[in-house]
């Protein structure tokens, strides 16, 4: 068990040296924040620039006119961006749902139910975290080819129903182990089945951990590039990450940077929005499910 941070100490009268120290920290943090955010601001700024200002030297931060067309029209003309966006949403929603559901099932089984060989299976399962996915990539590709799944969404979606890997299950299992057993036993005495207990007791109590897994899973599937790259071949089926790569022209000077940056902004926006929406749970979920547990 980890020791909890000490409660906030009673505030001392602030010494001048302390004020200087705080100002210094603020300065360092502020400049750091600017450096880190600037590329994103630049992305936003480029996405709104008219074509000739994109290449202006020296670069301009604020466009003279805001070209909203990049968002409303150009993006959709260059590639079927709307279609790709919808594809991503569909694939990612199902995958996240599948990941969370099945990871929680596995975690519950590993945390609470006894069976011969369970711990052995869990150990091997955990060890797969160290496997580079590339080792599995080729046999999986050939396997999916044999059953005719290439150029469909199935290789992206169906495996998501296999818990999404050891990391998710591990985090959830750690969390489930902190839930008092009494609650379950009370349920068992009331004659509830395991599924009822899982659905009515465990899942509702694990909100922060499940949200954390959902976010990890969302980010993984939203950002995934290699899997769609290998399996999707009709442009109609592409996901967002493949879509962005389509904008790059054969000649770098003819890449439509404005619309490309608009497309990037639109791909990043949901991730950032989600992050803000669940920020509280997220940090909570991580700290509660720390490494040493």
């Amino acid at each position: 068990m980890r020791t909890k941070p000490a409660p906030e100490l009673v505030r001392d009268p602030v010494a001048p040296a302390e004020i200087v120290r705080r100002i210094l920290i603020h300065l360092v943090l502020l400049s750091g924040a600017v450096v880190f955010l600037f590329p994103l601001i630049w992305m936003l700024s480029t996405s709104l620039k008219p074509p000739d200002e994109i290449f202006s030297i020296p670069p301009k931060l604020i466009p003279s006119t805001f070209v909203w067309e990049n968002y409303t029209k150009r993006v959709f003309e260059i590639v079927p961006y709307g279609r790709h966006y919808l594809n991503s949403i569909i694939i990612v929603s199902i995958s996240v749902f599948a990941n969370v559901l099945t990871a929680a099932m596995c975690a519950y089984g590993f945390a609470r139910l006894r069976a011969p060989g369970r711990d052995w299976i869990f150990g091997v399962f955990l060890a797969t975290m160290m496997l580079p996915p590339q080792v599995m990539m080729i046999p999986l590709f050939i396997g999916f080819q044999k059953i005719g799944w290439i150029n469909t969404w199935k290789p992206l979606i169906v495996p998501a129903f296999l818990s999404g890997g050891a990391f998710n299950v591990f985090l959830l299992r750690q969390f489930f182990m902190t839930i008092p057993r009494d609650l379950e036993e009370a349920g068992l005495i009331d004659g509830c089945g395991r599924i009822t207990i899982f659905a009515r007791i465990i899942v509702p109590l694990s909100r922060p951990a499940l949200v954390t897994i959902a976010i990890f899973s969302f980010m993984y599937h939203w950002n995934d590039f290699l899997t769609p790259l290998i399996y999707l071949h009709d442009q109609d089926k592409y996901t967002l990450s493949l879509s962005l790569n389509l904008f790059k022209g054969m000649y770098i000077s003819r890449t439509p940077w404005g619309p490309l940056m608009a497309a990037s902004v639109m791909m990043v926006a949901p991730v950032i929005a989600l992050f803000f929406a669940v920020q509280r749970h997220f940090v909570e979920g991580i700290t509660l499910t720390g490494l040493k547990g």
Partner: protein
């Protein structure tokens, strides 16, 4: 309860358990163990998927180690990347975490600012940095120009293309998951330890060195191990940031997995690519083993 009743209850529990962990069992069989064995077998063949496989014994491995300069080049590129990104990806997030662990006003905003780059999808980050690092009209060289420095060609120069990718990757890592893990760890360091040190009048640096770092060692071990594994898998940045994703200029960003991808899905040499995957697997196993061996003893489990 009778003995028979207990054992049937046990059997029922075991069945329920297997039911619940079925996805994990299927995952192991279909997505891990099965494919690993298959990939080992495939690595002894020449197979383009379109025509039947030919059994060629160790030839892929021989070819790889003794006759394929691109294999060594891709390994070298990956080691170069790893040698920079693993230490930088450990130290920089740690420094950021230390800064973000101070108790000052506005901390949630700062944390968010540092964290945002890490949630930007790698594809979006890559096209963004391709643009920022463009030698003709990119922002980065323009800023350097203000200070009278003529910026390098970045992705157009075999010398600077790897640093460009390291820079871009570090931008996404500095405030990312590693930083969060350290932050969680830092918050778990008992204040009583610091207070004892304060009474000794220990200076800040000594305090960090003697208390914080040892207390954080399990976190470092975890991030180092995962960092190596991830660094060896660098792919998307190079694929998106180079023309046709070919790892140019002059193969300077042809990372191991990118080369593996070329072999498998451009040249359709599934056997050779599987052999490469196995070598990668073994290299990662060895490095991870060494890390546990060297660092495991020094790790302080609180």
């Amino acid at each position: 309860m009778s003995g028979a009743g207990r054992s049937s209850a046990r059997r029922r529990e075991a069945l329920a358990c297997y039911g619940f962990i079925m996805p994990a069992i299927l995952f192991l069989a279909l997505m891990a163990v099965g494919p690993i064995i298959a990939s080992f077998v495939i690595s002894f063949t020449y197979w383009d998927v379109m025509t039947p496989p030919q059994w060629i014994g160790l030839e892929n491995y021989r070819e790889m180690f003794f006759h394929d300069p691109l294999f060594w080049k891709s390994l070298w590129n990956t080691l170069y990347f790893t040698a920079f990104i693993v230490p930088l990806g450990t130290i920089v997030p740690f420094l950021v975490a230390m800064l973000l662990n101070s108790r000052i006003r506005g901390m949630p905003i700062y944390r968010t600012c540092f964290y945002l780059p890490s949630i930007v999808p790698v594809v979006a980050g890559s096209v963004l940095w391709l643009w920022i690092l463009n030698p003709d009209f990119g922002l980065f060289n323009a800023v350097l120009g203000v200070f009278g420095i003529e910026g390098p060609l970045w992705m157009y120069s075999p010398k600077w293309s790897k640093p460009a990718i390291i820079l871009m990757t570090l931008w996404g890592m500095a405030g990312g998951p590693n930083m969060l893990i350290y932050l969680a760890g830092l918050q778990g360091v008992p204040r009583s330890l610091y207070e004892a040190a304060d009474m000794d009048g220990a200076r800040w640096f000594t305090r960090v060195w003697n208390i914080t770092i040892p207390m954080m060692s399990p976190y470092f071990l975890f991030t180092l191990v995962m960092g190596f594994i991830q660094a060896f898998q660098v792919f998307t940045q190079a694929y998106v940031m180079t023309t046709r994703g070919d790892g140019g200029p002059i193969d300077s960003t042809l990372f191991y997995v990118l080369y593996l991808y070329h072999k498998a899905f451009r040249q359709f040499e599934m056997g050779y690519a599987s052999a490469m995957a196995w070598v990668l697997f073994v290299v990662i196993l060895i490095i991870t083993g060494i890390q546990f061996k060297l660092l495991g003893k020094r790790v302080h489990y609180g």
